[in-house]
Symmetry: C2
Subunit: 321 residues, 2 copies
């Protein structure tokens, strides 16, 4: 359930490109107009606009946004306007190169691998090769140490069956495997990696439910009881992204807002990358878990065009046309 609001009859890519071009000209850039157009188009329409804009004006729309705008608004609107597979490939690369943020920098890889559909994941791997001249997996091997390396390699290499097919016996059996691994604190056991990286999402949700049914507590609680290391943290992101991506992204948005200052990179990721997927559900989970309004919290923590753009993606900004 996307929060994005697209006009019933959208203008043609040529009309949109002309409006965008006009917004760049004149005294200063007309950011409001950019938001009205780009913030109300889905990824298919944005692709057509990028291509049409390039043909009409012989320049890259993304490059022009880069030079015309600045700050958090620029980052957010570029993240939104570019090709989703390229965007995620760049986020993955930045995650692998930027180790300042601790384990959080690898979380992005799990989100792409576990909270996307298999075709998007392949498109990201393909875009990664084009942009960085090596495979995503090569960079994981080079940048991440064991046992996280093994886990991430398995996850990003997956191509899961994407229909609802669940085998209850398999779920039961594999939940006992997970329990054994937790009980012996061998979270990097090959079987665990195979289960998490080859099974379809619906099967895994059943396995997690079976775990709770058999052992009384949730799988993420079981993992937490193993310790507070990086493997435990990342495995819990895996479990959340598979079991309830909306709950995971509600947490991403929450964590980016609470405390001193805002983590705009994470806020952008939470809003921008999910606006066309499940942001309505994220909002619902957010209210449910934090007893607070996601919309109000975003509005309270941001300002200017940046705020206007995010609330547009949240579906509560000015109506687009």
């Amino acid at each position: 359930m996307a929060s994005l609001k697209v006009p019933e009859i959208a203008p043609s890519p040529i009309q949109d490109s002309e409006r965008i071009r006009k917004a760049f000209h004149g005294l200063g850039t007309d950011e409001k107009e950019l938001i009205l157009v780009l913030g109300h188009r889905n990824s298919k329409q944005l692709k057509e606009i990028r291509e049409t804009y390039q043909q009409l004006y012989n320049e890259s729309l993304i490059d022009r946004l880069q030079s015309e705008l600045s700050g958090d608004f620029r980052n957010a609107i570029i993240l939104w306007t570019q090709d989703p597979a390229e965007r995620d490939a760049k986020l993955a690369n930045a995650g692998l190169k930027d180790k300042r943020k601790g384990i959080k920098h690898l979380q992005i890889l799990v989100e792409i691998a576990c909270a996307s559909n298999p075709n998007h994941l392949v498109a990201v791997r393909k875009a990664y090769c084009s942009l960085f001249h090596c495979s995503l997996e090569e960079d994981i091997v080079a940048s991440v140490s064991q046992p996280l390396r093994k886990l991430l390699l398995g996850l990003v290499s997956s191509y899961r069956y994407d229909k609802v097919t669940v085998n209850l016996e398999v779920a039961k059996w594999e939940s006992t495997k997970l329990y054994e691994a937790i009980n012996t604190k061998k979270l990097d056991d090959d079987h665990i990696i195979w289960i998490l990286s080859t099974r379809n999402i619906f099967q895994l949700r059943e396995t997690f439910a079976s775990y709770k049914h058999l052992y009384g507590n949730t799988l993420d609680q079981g993992i937490k009881n193993c310790g507070k290391g990086d493997m435990e943290s990342l495995l819990n992101v895996v479990v959340w992204c598979i079991d309830s991506p909306e709950r995971h992204f509600a947490k991403v948005v929450r964590d980016s807002i609470i405390g001193l200052g805002t983590d705009e990179d994470s806020l952008n990721r939470g809003i921008v990358t999910r606006a066309e997927i499940d942001l309505l559900k994220v909002r619902f989970e957010y209210a449910n878990i934090y007893k607070s309004s996601l919309d109000d919290d975003v509005i309270g923590d941001t300002s200017g065009e940046y705020k206007d753009f995010l609330i547009t993606l949240l579906g509560i900004g000015p109506k687009g046309l």
Copy 2:
């Protein structure tokens, strides 16, 4: 370098479909006509013919071939006419289910993973999900035991960078890693799997060359010296498929021919799956290694329409139109 010969100006898919339909009718099937049409079209043209035939006559061309024909000719022409990704998915599935042939049944998976381009491999994984309602990787985990399981999972999950980019230092370093694994007889070491399943083909060829330069013998010889187990056999198929797929497929064809009787499944695989890729090179390698003509050996070992079809794919049959 494909051996397949396609007319410079091919008939339209409608004309081809009508010819095929006519060949099915009349007294008995006109196999020669089927060969003249289907044996002279590439996979893109065959796709159009399948679709057009379905629209015109409201039946599947593959199903009709299945009911009209029989024996080795039927198997070969169906293998050729169907979608290549579906074909390989079915071969992979048959390989995983049929254990009578020993290690040879897993060789097909290595061929698909290491002697195809990355987009084809993904298409095969996608087709596998559609046809068998689970991921290829799930079936590998269920059907193959360790350490082959780990090797095959890594290989079929790869999405390699496909441009020529070689780092000589990396090649040298990774050839020492391979040497260590061979020296300590730890062929299932995680590093080995990562090297073979994440690096691009050109980088790996350089690594194999570096191995030979540093240690005097070839990597496949080194692996052979470790023992005669399944892991050694399969690893050598990996090395051959990466280093010189044409040499590997020359061996596939040779092994299918020599000895008593013919292994038609392997012969089909060697000819049919490579006719549009590198069968000219396979023929050259065959002559080079076995001092014998691949064409003559195929002709000597087959008969009837089956022979006619294979030599058509080899580019030495009657001219198509």
